[in-house]
Amino acid sequence: MSGFNCKHILGLRDIAREDICKILKTAKAMKEIISRPIKKVPALRGKTVVTLFYENSTRTKLSFDLAAKYLSADTVSLSVSTSSVKKGESLIDTARTVEAMRTDILVMRHPASGAPATLKNYLNCAIVNAGDGMNEHPTQALLDLFTIQEKKGKIEGLRVAIIGDILHSRVARSNIWGLKKLGAEVAVAAPSTLIPPEIEKLGVEVYTKVEEALKGADVVNVLRLQLERQESSLIPSLREYAMMYCINEKRLNHAKDDVLLMHPGPMNRGVEISDDVADSARSAINEQVTNGVAVRMAVLYLLAGGEKVEKID
């Protein structure tokens, strides 16, 4: 049994299929732990995890914090809005400061694509990308993969439709890399202004009519319309977007009967997803949040390896 081969988790693009499988397998054991009355194990005692978020977040930040605590690591969150970043400190200097306090794992979200990958060249600690610009959000995709595997029993051969703002979505990119590596078919659908050029080169089918992408889907992953990134009028209006693309009961009927509905959150109810669908039995949206903690525990555990080679048993 060979070990885990990643020093950082920057994106699923750079993680081999077998390492993705190792994370998912470890997450399964972690999920058992968080279902216990005493949901804490001593595995990461003495390790320090710092979460550094340059963008807002509820579930990602909270679930990294809790994941670290459930593994007995010490966690500190640095709030960028009250830090020296406001005095003009550069990203690299801030990160070096964090590392100099003997941080073992740095979890970072940044609005610029590639920011965590840049830091890799300046730091020795492990870096986890918690979302970088429009590039990747690997732990979200891992928890989506975990949820699909848990609910469907497999990923290979499934048909997954990703609907919505593909252009701005790091969740979509990470999901596409992960799903393709694990052998799923992927279809995306969005207004043509929200589809990035050459996305089909990642091996996905591209549609502008949502019903076509939904046809025969085992899984539908609905993306959040990123209202904060829509300044340049890529869509005529929210109402028109909802009319054409909102996933509601009627549209969802184009997918398979046992379709699994996912959304990375936070939801714009009535824009990209309707209330009845979001709260239906086919929705795994709340389960995704629980799985997010398990997957992040797995990632933190696997990254926290030491240096000496030795074996007991």
Partner: protein, 183 residues
């Protein structure tokens, strides 16, 4: 797992089967029945051993004793010294252990560090009334004050030697051998 040249076979399939029958009797005797007893096998080879002891107890007493599976990886004391994190497997103890007599089952008792980890892991699942330890082979060289309640066979070894326990469900064959660790 254990590699090296095989020096001697110390138990064959029959020996193991006899030992597990004897230990089933000892468990029943010591606990005056098994109403309060649960078995927890330590991954990996403790698990089939625990299942077989449960079958033997059922044959003798007509009572099904619950069997759980414990993965101790996250409780190991050497996590910071390993080059790669060992893979974690699932713990499956789907019964209540509060107030119960928990019998931990493992294949080899050596330094005692696995048992220390297992004790911590069990305590995180509840508050057992008592914990007892059963091992197929006790090879000595303890590094912690830990002793087994039920022992299949005491085998004096040198630290250079490795004890290989092979169980049908996992290894396809069934015996216990002493190997010489390649230097």
């Amino acid at each position: 797992m254990a590699c090296g040249e095989e020096k001697a076979q110390i138990m064959n399939e029959k020996d193991i089967s006899r030992v597990l029958t004897r230990i089933a009797h000892e468990i029943i005797e010591r606990n005056k029945g098994v109403e309060n007893v649960v078995l927890i096998g330590i991954r990996r080879r403790g698990v089939p051993l625990a299942e077989r002891i449960a079958q033997n107890i059922e044959k003798i007493e007509g009572v099904k004793v619950p069997v759980g599976v414990l993965d101790i990886t996250l409780y190991r004391d050497d996590l910071t010294t390993l080059s790669h994190q060992p893979l974690v497997h699932q713990t499956k103890v789907d019964f209540d252990i509060n107030g119960k007599v928990v019998i931990l089952v493992d294949d080899v008792l050596f330094t005692g560090r696995t048992v220390r980890a297992a004790l911590d892991a069990v305590m995180d699942l509840g508050r057992p009334g008592a914990v007892q330890l059963m091992v197929l082979v006790d090879r000595g060289h303890r590094e912690l004050p830990i002793r087994a309640d039920f022992v299949g066979k005491n085998v004096p070894t040198s630290k250079k030697e490795v004890i290989a326990v092979r169980i049908k469900e996992i290894d396809g064959e069934e015996n216990v051998a002493i190997l010489e660790r390649p230097s």
